[in-house]
Every structure is written in C-alpha cells, then in structure tokens.
Symmetry: C2
Subunit: 724 residues, 2 copies
Amino acid sequence: MGKTKGRVTLPSQSNFLEQTKDLLNRWGADAIRDSDGTKLDDDIKHLDAKIYTTYFVARGHNEFAQQHMEECQQIYLMSAYTLATENQVSIAFAKEYFDQQVTPDYDHDPKVWWEVMDRTTDEVVDPANWDYDKEHHIVTVNNVIPFHEYTVSFLAYILWDPTQMYNHITNDWGDKPHEIPFDVRKPASAQYVVDYLKQWLKDNPDTDVVRFTTFFYHFTLIFNARAKEKFVDWCGYGASISTEAMLAFEKEYGYKLRPEDFVQNGYYNSTFCVPTKAYLDYIDMQQRFVKDKAKELVELTHAAGKEAMMFLGDNWIGTEPYGKYFPEIGLDAVVGSVGNGATLRLISDIPGVKYHEGRFLPYFFPDTFYEGNDPIPEAVDNWLCARRAIMRKPIDRIGYGGYPSLAYKFPKFVDYIEKVCDEFRYIYDHVHENEPYCGLRVAILNSWGSLRSWHPYMVAHGLYCKQIYSYNGMLESLSGASVDVTFISFDEVLAHGIPEDIDVIINAGDAGTAFSGGSVWNNEKLVSMLRAWVYNGGGLVGIGEPTAIEKGGHFFQLADAFGVDKELGFTLHTDKYFHTPVEQHFITEDVVEDLNFGEGMKNIYALSEDTQIISYSNGEVHLSTHTYGKGRCVYIAGLPYSEQNTRILMRSLYYAADKEAEFRKWYADNLYCEVHAYPKSGTYAILNNTNREQVTNVYDGEGNKTSVTLAPGEIRWMVMNDGK
Amino acid sequence: MGKTKGRVTLPSQSNFLEQTKDLLNRWGADAIRDSDGTKLDDDIKHLDAKIYTTYFVARGHNEFAQQHMEECQQIYLMSAYTLATENQVSIAFAKEYFDQQVTPDYDHDPKVWWEVMDRTTDEVVDPANWDYDKEHHIVTVNNVIPFHEYTVSFLAYILWDPTQMYNHITNDWGDKPHEIPFDVRKPASAQYVVDYLKQWLKDNPDTDVVRFTTFFYHFTLIFNARAKEKFVDWCGYGASISTEAMLAFEKEYGYKLRPEDFVQNGYYNSTFCVPTKAYLDYIDMQQRFVKDKAKELVELTHAAGKEAMMFLGDNWIGTEPYGKYFPEIGLDAVVGSVGNGATLRLISDIPGVKYHEGRFLPYFFPDTFYEGNDPIPEAVDNWLCARRAIMRKPIDRIGYGGYPSLAYKFPKFVDYIEKVCDEFRYIYDHVHENEPYCGLRVAILNSWGSLRSWHPYMVAHGLYCKQIYSYNGMLESLSGASVDVTFISFDEVLAHGIPEDIDVIINAGDAGTAFSGGSVWNNEKLVSMLRAWVYNGGGLVGIGEPTAIEKGGHFFQLADAFGVDKELGFTLHTDKYFHTPVEQHFITEDVVEDLNFGEGMKNIYALSEDTQIISYSNGEVHLSTHTYGKGRCVYIAGLPYSEQNTRILMRSLYYAADKEAEFRKWYADNLYCEVHAYPKSGTYAILNNTNREQVTNVYDGEGNKTSVTLAPGEIRWMVMNDGK
C-alpha cells in the first residue's frame, strides 16, 4: 500500500501548527476539528484541510437562557418510594436529586401536571388527597393506606446540560457557568436558535463543516443528590417533555399523556422495557418535531455554503438516525465514536446522509497518554474490531479526538496510526462501491426493530454490563461477519409479516425485556406466524430467554421449535431424560477454546431426543439444535464476544438456514481469521483479526482451499481466479 | 449408657431364627416386621416381640379387581403438545404413556369428560369440533388454527399400582401379576376392602400391628411409553379422581371441576405451582372422604385387638398427616423413611397418633451390603443427621428394612447399629417428655403452610434436585436447631393474621412457585400486613426470590424491607452504588469454610447504603441485612445444607429477631457442634455432628463458657449447674 491521502480528520489545538502540518502529512488527513476544550488558531484554520467546528444549539447560550428560565427543558422524575406507616405520609420528593441539575416546576399547577402513586396497588391517588410545600419540596398525602408505598411523579426543570455537567464535575471546573438547556418547543428559544445560527454562520467563515453537538434535547442523564449519576439511558426521550409537548400530544393523538407514561414505575421507559403505545406515539411525535426544527438549521447551514454534520449522541433526542424521519433533516454527515465493530456499523449503516465519520480510540487524553504507558494496544484492539465491520460497510472517514500534542509525544503511536490511516484508505477504495459477498440474510427481532439498529442492549454509552454482555456479543460478532443484518420489530412483523428475503431470525434477550419481547409472546398471531415461518424452512436462533412468557405450559412460546425450554419449577416433577450431547456437530467444528456462554442461562432442558444437544453441563443445556418441519432452530445460552463465539454464531446461522454446504465459501478455517470477498471487483481480503501470527486454510468461492500465514493484524488482498 | 431394650423394629425373613434372636437381643429390638418380598416364619412370629404385618388395602387383590375393572382407579392425563399445520390435527393422545399402566376410559363419554385445549391461546376447543377413535386412541380436531398447539386431556384407568409396577420393572419380576388398583369411591370396592380386612384380621392372629401400605390412592407416578418414569409428585392428588368424585364435588361445591383443574398445562398441580381454589377444594373433599373410609378400617383393626400403623407414602392421597382431618382417622402410629433430619421431623411432628417410627438407612439390600463395601459410613451420616432432629422432637421408635441376613454378614455394622439403638433409647428417655430449650419461634411462609410441613420443595421422594437443594438446606438446618418451627400459609395469614408468637418469618423459593408465593404478592393486604409486622419489630428472612412478582417497580414486593431487589433488566439504566461488604457481621462470625449459596441467585442488588452487604461477588449480593422500622430482614441467595449454613441460618434468625444477645446460650462456638438443653430435667447435651473429633467452647444458659473436646460423633450429656 503506497502513501495516500484523505478521509482522516485530525484534532488540533493552539500553538501546534508545525506538528499539525506533520501529522496532516503523515496521516494524510484532510480535515481538522476542534474539540471540547480546544480551539483552533487562525493559522491552523488556513491549512489545506477542511475545518470542522463544534456547535451547540440549545446549550452554551446562557446569556439567552438566563433571561428565559421559563423555557428551560423539563423532565418527569419520580420521588423515592416512601412508606406510609400511618394515615398520612410526607414525601420529600426531590431529595434524591441533584438540585443544581433539576428543580421542581411549580409554574405549572402540580395538581394538574403531577401524580401521586400508590405503588403497592399501582393506583393514582386522588389529587384532593395531597398537597405540596413549595419551599421544602414536600408532598403530603392524606388518607393513605398504612404500609403502602407512595411516590410523587413531578415535573422538573433541567438547569444544567448533562454533558457539560458531567465534564464540569469530572474535571472540577469550579465556577465556570453551568450551561442551561432551553426548549425549542417554546417561542423565544425557537426563534433564538435560528437567529443565533444565522449570525454564527456569518461570523465563522473558516468553518467548512458545522458539527452539531447535537440538536435540542439531551438523552436522559440524571444525577443524584451526591452529584453522581443516578439514571442514564442513551436512548431515553424523558428530557424532551414539557407541558407544551403534553398538550400537543393530546391534540394530535386524542388522548392525554400521564406522568406515569414517562416515569413508568421508575423504569423511565428504559430501552429494556417493552415500549408502551403511548411511549411509541410520543417518540414518533418528537421525532417529527425535532426533524422539522433541525431541518431548518441544516438548511441555514447549507445556505451559508457549509456542511452540516451531526454528532451521534448527547442532545440527540428525536434524531435517532434509524428513525423514519431522520433522512428528511438533510444532514451531510454523522460522526460518532467507534468503540468496536457494532458501534462502527451503528454509524456506517445510517441511511440518508452523504458520509459517515468514526472517531477512533484512544482519545488523546492524559488518562492514556502518560509517561510509561503504551497507547498502541488499545489502538490495535480498536482498529482490529472496527476493521472487520469496515469490510462489510465502511464508514467514509476516520478521525481522532483530544490533544494531539499528547499523542505526538509517542512516535510509535504516530507511526501506528499512520499505518491505520493508509490501511483504512486502501480498504475504503476497495470496498465502498462494492457489495461484499453475503452468505445469509439475518434479522434481529425485538420490540425496537430498526430504530435501535446495532444498539439493542445498550446500557449507558456502551459500557460493560453483566446483564448484557452475553447478548451484545452477538451484535459484535455480526458487525464484521459475511451476513447481511437487519433489525425488525414485533410490530412490523405483525403488520407486514416476516420479510421475504430473511434466512434466519435471531431473538435474544432476558425474559420480559424488549429484546426477548415479554408480553408480545402472548400474541398468538406472532407465535403462530413465527412457527409457520420456521416450519416452512426458516431458521431461528434464540439466545438467553427467547420468546419467553409463561403460558400454556411453556416458558419459551416457541419451545416446540427450539426443542428446549426453561424450567421454572412447575415441571420439576416431570422427568427430563435428554442430556447427552452429540459427539460432534457442524456448529462447533472449528472450536479451539473452551466454550464460553458468558452469564449463560440456568435450567434449560431439552424436550425430547429430537433435540441435538451440543453443550450440556451442570444439569443445563447451553447449546442445542432442533429441526422443526423444514426449518431449524438453534438455542444458545449466551454469546459474549470472542472470535470463537463469532464462529459459533456464524455456524449456527448457516446451520439454522440449512446451508452448511455453502459455509466453506470465502471462509478461513482458523477462527481467528476471516475472509471478505467482493465479487464485483473480483478481489477478496483475508484478515487476521488478532495481533498474533495465524496460519489458516482459506476457501475461495468454489470451496478450493489454500494455506496462508498471516502476520499479526495483517489484511491480505487477493485477486479471484476467473473472477470467482 | 448401659444396655437397654425396646423402641426398635427389626426386619426378619425366612430361615433366620437364631440370628434374629441374636439381633433382637443385641439391638434391644421389641418388634419384628416383614417387608416387601419377605415373609415371617411362624417360629419368628412367636418370639417375644410385636409382629408388624404389611397390609395392602386397594392393591394386591387382583381376584377381586379383575372382576371389577370398571372400578379401577383413574387419572386425567394430558397428551403431548401437537402442532396443527393445517385446519385439522390428529392427536395420538395416549402415545406417550405406558399402556400397561394406563388406558383411556371410553366408558364415560369422552365428549363430556375430556377436553381438547388450544395451548397457544389457552382456550377449550368446542367438543363439536373433535372426534375420537377408540381403537387407535386418536382424537381428530377440526377447524383448528394452523400453527397452534393442541392437547387432549383424557380420563384414563390405572391398571397397575405404581409402586408394584416400579418394583416389578426394576427387579424384572417377569409374569408376576400386575396389581390393579381399585377405587373405594365405587360400590363393590368400598364393600370389598371392609370385608377383606375383617377376614384378614381373623386369619392373622399373630399380627400385633397392621401396617397399612397405605390406604386407597397412590400419589401420582406415571410411566412413559418406554416404561420409565414420566411424572412423579409425592404430594399429587391426581390419581384419586373419578367421574364419581367429579360429580360429588359439583354437588358439594356448586361448581364443576374440569379436566384442566387436574392437567393444568401439564403441570398437574405440582406442589411447585401456586394451588388454585378448585384444587384446594378438591384436596379438602378427598381428605374428608379418605378419612372416613380409613377410619372405618382402623376401627375394625382396633376391634380385632390390633394396632393400626400407616406407612407415610405410597397410597397416601388424602391421608397427608398434617391435613386437618388426619387425627380423626384414629391411627396408632405412622412409620416413614428417615433420609435426614427434615424427614425425621416430617415423621416426629405428626399430630394425632400415639407413636412415630422411623425407618433408618441403609436398607439391608445388596446395593449396599456387598462384599468389599462398607455400609457404616451411610449409617453414620444418616444417624448424625437424624440425631440432631431427634434432640428437638424424637420419633418414638426406630427400625430398619430389607434382608437382615445381608446385614448380619457385616459384624462391625451390627456393632454400630447396636450402639445407635442404645444411644437412641438413651436420648429418647431424656428427651421425649421434655421441652427442649428454644431460642426463637420461626414460621415458614408459603402457599401450602402446615399441610406440607417439613416437605416443601419435595421432588420425587426427596432426591437431589438442582433447583431445590439451595432451599431444602434451610429445612434440614432447622430440623435439628434450637428453634421452634411452624409452617404457615398465605391463606392462613390473610384470614387470621400473623400468629402472635412468631419471632421470624422465612419466605424462600423461586419466583412464581408456591414456595415464594407467585401471584399472591399481588395482594396488597398480604404485602402491607407483612411490612407492618416487620416494621413493628418482626424478623424476616428471604432466601432466593422471596415475595417475588414484578409490580410497582419492584420484583421483590418487600424489597423495601429486605433492602435488596433483583435486576430484571428494567432498571439497568439506574446506577447501583452499593456493593461494599461490611468488614464483619454477627451472621458470619463462626464461619470457617468458604461461603456456599448453592445455586445462588443472579442479579441481586442493594437498594441503598442502609443495606448491610455481608457477601458480594460477581456484581451480586449473596447475603445481606436491612433494618426496617423496629424490625430486621436478612436476604440469603441460597442455602444448601451444611453445618456452616446451619450456623449462618441460626445467626440470621437471631439477627432478624434482634436477639443477638441471646445467641450465646446453650451454644457451641464450633459450628460442627450443637447444644440442646432441657430445662425441665436440668440436663443438656453437647453434640458433635461430625465423624471427626471436635474442640469447642460450650456456653450454658447464662452464657458461661467451658471448652470441651468431643470424640467423633459423640453426644455428651451434662447436668445444669443450679438447674441453669
């Protein structure tokens, strides 16, 4: 690979001109960005590179916000559970919250806009039975039932943008002003964001790309009274509510939203909860509202001859890029952080924009770039995970963040990134106008469908979480695998049936969650539709507790198809005879490590001898297959990410699709390697996904094999014989 | 301990006179029994010992049964789930069953007495839509919904007594006749069992004790088509049904039973299922019916000058000895098998009989008594477990079973049992008219209450089961602990409140089961009653998933009292800050081994810093305490039986009761030892519960300590100072 240029964005900073030039040259960067806490000098802005400038729409304008505190953003919050021990109970409802972030809204009549709930019966308390004390933030409830628990759902103003608050507290920014978020649903704010952008566009002639961070409402991130995170949901819409939005909703949908529609038992419509109709309606309304408002700003940006780029995150409520209205915003680009393959696909699959940019790890921050530490391993991991996904659907640009002066002190790191940039450009050129070879079409079926493509199971910003890693691994595996992946929702399937071109459906999650489906499995239409589909030749893969709700003697409603079910205790008196694993199975043929099902799943048992058990221990099935009519099912207890589990999943999918015969095409039998083929261009690439040397047999599109040895992390491009 | 005599029952066999005399003498036995497969010779019957004779009431009389096949016992059975793939489905409903055991009953109109269920919707299919083929045992259902599952619930005759069937098949008895069970609810059978017993009593003058095995209906034990166990529930009432019973029920209760009331999704009213009202009503009716019929036989026995003893098990439907009508039967004695301390208490606590006899392990069978094997360790384990329980509430007699000729070949075993018999008599004399010192009164709260005293969580006949051992351990621990134990049901508590004298309530089980309580926790009365009780000073111990049903934002409805809850996914976005264990805690002060919570419980988290976490790992709380008003709660993830877990439980109970100060009374600080005190007689005993030497400090009733060294398995009797 020779020296190439472009498709790379460099962060810069003050007093860093010469080094910036050097990095621009070595990494072939063609854009320079500012970051939170860095500003670009004029001489840097005049280099031969596009200039990205971060732009905050509804925060960071305190001169305006402080004059319009009645236009602050709002949220419904739930008090702590408060036990009544007598006939009256006083609830200090705001006590758990960080008063610098939120404050109760008494401007709108609490008797109208708040709710007191008896949580022991799940009933609303008549407002005649309670009163509030504005000064001390106390609600006193009369005529309560002793030893029931009560909560207050109150409307609050948000006084501090959560991201700035987080950075402020984390970095101890002292008396730096708190950025107040204001609500563009309210008149002065709506006007202000337009006027301000117009002027700003005039004032920033050097800016080529306006990087919106982001638009109007920040995802839910609430701190507690100790100024620590209390609740965070990257997909949460809670902080976009207002009395105006409540009224607009009622007008449009003909029914009223209640505080409980947001507070929801304290679950706040977590993405793990099966969404209610009211919540889905609300999301739809806010997406349309945000789309209109954002579109206006994007059009102004275009009129000024600049590009509009959206940061994927922060104030992104209503601009979820897989939402149906997103393309109408007319953005040029989306930029997001690439933690692994799944987050790369989360960015690169976004429809409706001209280009996608990924910010790679590590950030050039002192927590990584300090003397004695080697930043390269994190960069290697990040690149190798992302590279697999790029082979399937590339982002169009890569970039870095933080203080380049820190990175510049690590010459070997600068060398490595130089190599990555060149490799990225080479891959991009070979891949971006090509369709990769795809063995199967896979659909992930859950409550959210395409809206939450590549980020089901997301907790916080994709941090490790005990309860999700055994599901998340499936997404990471798929992100760089030779299969096409779509995300479909139960509602979609119920309305339109299962899409024609799907080979295998995956349902994966804990019982009761939006990812397994919870109460939707009470719907006999869904159950029988899925049964019929598998019976007639479809493939179904279940992970964890698929199709789970206790009914009719089954816990898995498709237990008959999976050939396994979960013992809840009710059938302990029924003998379970089937626990002998098969001696070998297609699915585990490449296995070289111990099997690892992560958290696994307790008490899974096989229903009959027709179930082929592949892994069994401690009285539990971990991996099994079952034929159902012309179709096949695979059950997997859990699938944390690893190269081996990627292979197990791929083989499970091929097995479920009854396409084992097709599996050895564009295939490497060493599971640490993968092959991606591009029939149109007649090329294919063999990837070593590890940082160790690997030897593998590689199979071409006709199943002919050759042995190859790959250096650590190597990607080797090959030309097909006769275009095959 | 000098040589004593009595309270021991010896099995004997043919041609074993001299050895029987020797064993009688050495073990101090005063009764001789026959067994299944052994008969007593006349000379043995004339020894100076009571003679027990096994008696079958409603089996083993084929000359009668074969002439009255229409009076066979019956059961409702469910077919396999059968998938409809078109508009018609044929269900070979009896195919899964063992045709030598059961056969469909076509004598009573299937259209009236059977049900076809759509298991996908949980609805009954109109009988007009199905028909049956008697010859091939096939039901054909028309107008079905494709890809729904259907089952047939059919009434069957039972052709073979399950215990005899089991023995027959296990021992390969060839063409020995199958004993046919007949139903005393039907006229000829009702008359027959009376007439036969009358004659038998005349014919067996040497019999002193008629050992009924048992009365009328065998607990549910159904074999599959391969002649292997398919379903077994020691407490199941299914095999007592008949059309007569169905009609009698309707007449008495004013509503009809349905097949589904028995089949229940294929759960067959497993004791793990929260019992329905219909099932509880049915149990009550059958208990009264059986009581009346059994009483008649017992009265005949008494009239003949003999005692009536009931075997605890086999054909015992309706004679559950903790049922409310049991004492009215008027039995002299109950005999049952002693597997451990809990099963000993299951026997010794039975009300309404004059004496209780326990059959100890090992049975004198060739599986244990073969050359090269040492039968003593099993006997030691059995005795040491049972002995703790005997110290609390002794059985009145012990005994053995099987072929004494086998045991006689192991002289050291004979020696050991001689020692056990003497030790038992010594303990009995010191204990049976004494109240042991009791530190606390504990209630185990579940759906079954006292009816299933000492045998909640029972699967099969008390075999090991992965899903229960972490709960069963709690019962075993309590069986020999210095606390009084009662079993109370939710219904009882709802009707009459929590009994006044209870210090601590335990709720232990998997969510949804009868032992945790399932849907009963939707009842706000129960929830608030229990909260109030703890708040006002009660102690609550939860094991596994106590008080569990997802509602109002909690999974554990008493999460606020326990201070912990289980993460189901819905609050993953809420930060959990509390995972630092306390440095030391009263509950774990004696601990010497690694903590062992058995299966444990996933995803338990502490709600606030008020929860004292004692054990935490892998993101989960395993053991914690929480103060609630004046009361206290303890949460334990699981409690398999061990000496250490017994100590942890005892300390949990004392802690929950806020009586730590009382704990060091009649207490041994070495957890392998225990102290039982008898204030009335002014004695106490120090037990070494292991077969290894132990050194311990022993605390008397005033907390004064002395160090003692105990030989393996030693029990040391002491006299109190000043009676204290």
